[in-house]
């Protein structure tokens, strides 16, 4: 770009690579190189120098590869997939799935008995994120609406359970449907006016709403306990409690009823089981929804809104249904989170949490259920395993989001629209 027409192309490439390296150095040098210490500073330019060198080498390599035939072939193979659209799955589905799915289901049910308490809690957290990812996937992946305040509905669910038990004595099983309904109601109230407008505004309104919820929870100390949070009770199974001794008069602890020794991981085992069943139900639910007219309308709206509206689809109600469905899932996830932690406070519901759930959906491939599950498991379990890189977690998420959008905007796993045949029809 810099070189004139008379320049040797190799010299021009060198010049451009040098320019890229110089810009990298200038951009990184002040922040990485000069570290503030009070009003003074410490200078150390190793990081920006290395970064500039890396950029120089990469840029030069790409520019030189572009100049010959074999290089161009390599670059085309590595370049972003422009290939478009959604393909339709083959009729009949995948035959071996029929055997794999029950096996996976049983494996999921048996798994917690082989885990220690620590890994059990990690897996529960991962499952909560699977649930949240599935919920946000309906909104972002299937309906194509960017929701940046998903954590608000998660918070509504968690606080519904915690505050509900504190003020009105709600139990886990009553709170579950109530939280789902409340979160869906919040979603509807927020979504209805906003969804009528241009899509991008939804992102910023939901972002603002997420912050409002967190700030209110943080500042309304008399009702929510403020930054100190509220405790949430343990879940119960037919009035059997998962504590050493019964908290409520007349209830019997679980281990006494079955005559087994008390184990503090019993509570987590129970939460895992319920959560696992809810996640499985959710997967089934989403897959069935994609076959129904509503789910098909979501995906059609994502691809081309104007075409859909001219076909007579009411875009507001269709979008609203997706938005409320996502909010409802968030609410359910919140109840499980509160039960699992035994305590909720506003610091669990920051924007970072929304960004994490969004990263799960984006990395998993927007719209793909399998992708979302894998991404949720990887993004929650991997940081536990790689504690040393905890500082760089957000940085890596950010880079992954940008790279994914440039390289494979439709996600790592290619999604197929389910095959559909009208009964007795020909198509």
């Amino acid at each position: 770009m810099l070189g004139t027409a008379h320049d040797n192309p190799k010299v021009a490439a060198l010049k451009e690579a040098l320019l890229s390296a110089a810009i990298t150095f200038l951009v990184m040098a002040p922040i990485s190189g000069i570290v503030l210490k009070g009003y003074a500073f410490e200078a150390d330019f190793t990081v920006p120098v290395y970064a500039a060198l890396i950029v120089f080498v990469l840029r030069l390599a790409i520019l030189l590869l572009e100049q010959n035939e074999t290089g161009r072939k390599i670059l085309v193979r590595l370049s972003p997939s422009k290939g478009g659209g959604v393909t339709v799955a083959k009729p009949g589905g995948v035959p071996w799935l029929r055997f794999i799915l029950p096996l996976l289901f049983i494996a999921g049910l048996v798994l917690p008995f082989f885990l220690g308490k620590y890994w059990l809690t990690v897996v529960i957290l991962a499952m909560i994120y699977v649930l949240l990812g599935l919920g946000l996937n309906i909104v972002v992946g299937l309906a194509g609406l960017l929701d940046l305040g998903f954590v608000a509905f998660y918070a509504v669910g968690a606080y519904m359970f915690a505050l509900g038990s504190q003020y009105w004595g709600l139990g886990f099983w009553t709170a579950l449907p109530l939280a789902a309904a409340t979160a869906a109601l919040f979603g509807g109230m927020l979504g209805f006016p906003v969804l009528r407008m241009h899509g991008d505004y939804l992102a910023i309104v939901t972002l603002g709403f997420g912050e409002i919820i967190r700030l209110v929870l943080n500042n309304w100390t008399s009702f929510t306990g403020g930054p100190n949070g509220v405790s949430a009770p343990n879940p119960t199974l037919f009035n059997l409690e998962f504590s050493r001794s019964a908290k409520i008069e007349g209830n019997i602890p679980f281990h006494e009823f079955f005559g087994i020794p008390y184990d503090s991981s019993l509570k987590y085992l129970f939460i895992y089981m319920v959560l696992f069943l809810v996640v499985c139900a959710m997967i089934y639910f989403v897959n069935r929804l994609r076959l129904m007219p509503m789910g098909r309308a979501w995906e059609a709206l994502r691809e081309d809104e104007i075409a859909c509206r001219s076909m007579g689809i009411n875009h507001v109600t269709v979008k609203l249904s997706a938005f409320m469905m996502g909010a409802m899932t968030g609410g359910i996830g919140g109840v499980f989170f509160a039960a699992y932690q035994g305590f909720v406070n506003p610091s669990s519901f920051t924007f970072f949490e929304s960004a994490l759930i969004l990263a799960i959906v984006v990395l998993g491939g927007m719209g793909s259920v399998v992708g979302v599950i894998i991404a949720a498991l990887v993004l929650t379990i991997l940081p536990e395993a790689l504690r040393d890189f905890a500082d760089y977690r957000v940085l890596i998420f950010g880079i992954l989001m940008v790279v994914m959008m440039i390289w494979k905007p439709r996600g790592l796993i290619r999604i197929h629209r389910p095959y559909f045949r009208v009964k007795g029809g020909k198509a």
């Binding site: 503030l36 009003y39 500073f41 960017l146 505004y201 709403f209 912050e211 209110v216 940008v402 440039i406």
Partner: protein
Amino acid sequence: MAGHAGILINSKSILLQKTFRCSTMESHILGQQLVNGLALGSIYGLIAVGYTMVYGIIGMINFAHGDIYMVAAYITAICIAVLSFFGINTVAIVLLITLAVTIFIIALYGWSIERVAYKPLRNSTRLAPLISAIGVSLILQNYVQVSQGARTQAVPTMIQGAFRFGSETDFFQITYIQTLLVVVSFLSMGILTWIIQKTSLGRQCRAVQQDRKMASLLGINTDRIISTVFIMGSSMAAVAGVLVTLNYGSFDFYIGFVTGIKAFTAAVLGGIGSLPGAMLGGIILGMSESLFSGLVNTDYKDVFAFSLLVLVLIFRPSGLLGKPAVEKV
């Protein structure tokens, strides 16, 4: 008759003064809040310009813009520290060099972010640039946090003193730095408006904003214009970063997030795509937020600003000075 009326008015005013003594004190608080609000609002306005210009030209909410402003605050502090290390302490020279260096580096930030994270997505799905921008925002926040540490940073106070109004015990003040802040903000807005309205570059920007395809058919290098818009928006955020650091004296890696949403609110309030609208929206938001936190409740001032955003988007999405969006098929 006239004298009679005069006495009457006089006695009435004494009575008024007696009854509303506490209210004059409150009016000084009110005045102070308005002054603070004007300063805050100018900052919001400067940042809102970046949102409004980028949205106007490529129809994308640049989520990373708030974090660019945060980086500008850091560069300011670093620049002041380096200058004082070399023994340059004259206030005017330090301010000018800091402003120039910060604008240059932040413009480079804006340019490279557009080039790396947004340009490859020009023809992608609608959600892709938004998600990419969130990624950039996370990268900038964490990059600064990892490099500079998570603690709150501070700069030495450089300009002291204030204009005072009112009596010894009951007054409100406009500090010199607030005066500088407002003057510099309006000056940079003026320069930007002049560039957009009067120069050939500005005419090209407006052409690309109206119809990108047609502008490129007429021989305008649209990619270059989009880069220029990012550079202009980032420069305004750089000015805001310098001024805010001088005025408040402390910052951390997280300031970009909340200020970013508020500046976006200001852009929407003024009418997205409109330059004077961004400044007007910024000042209205700054003043009302300042009044709210002074007279009602400080804890809920962010809630107030975000609720304003939601309400404006619901009831007047085209803002105060914006034109209603027409959907072209």
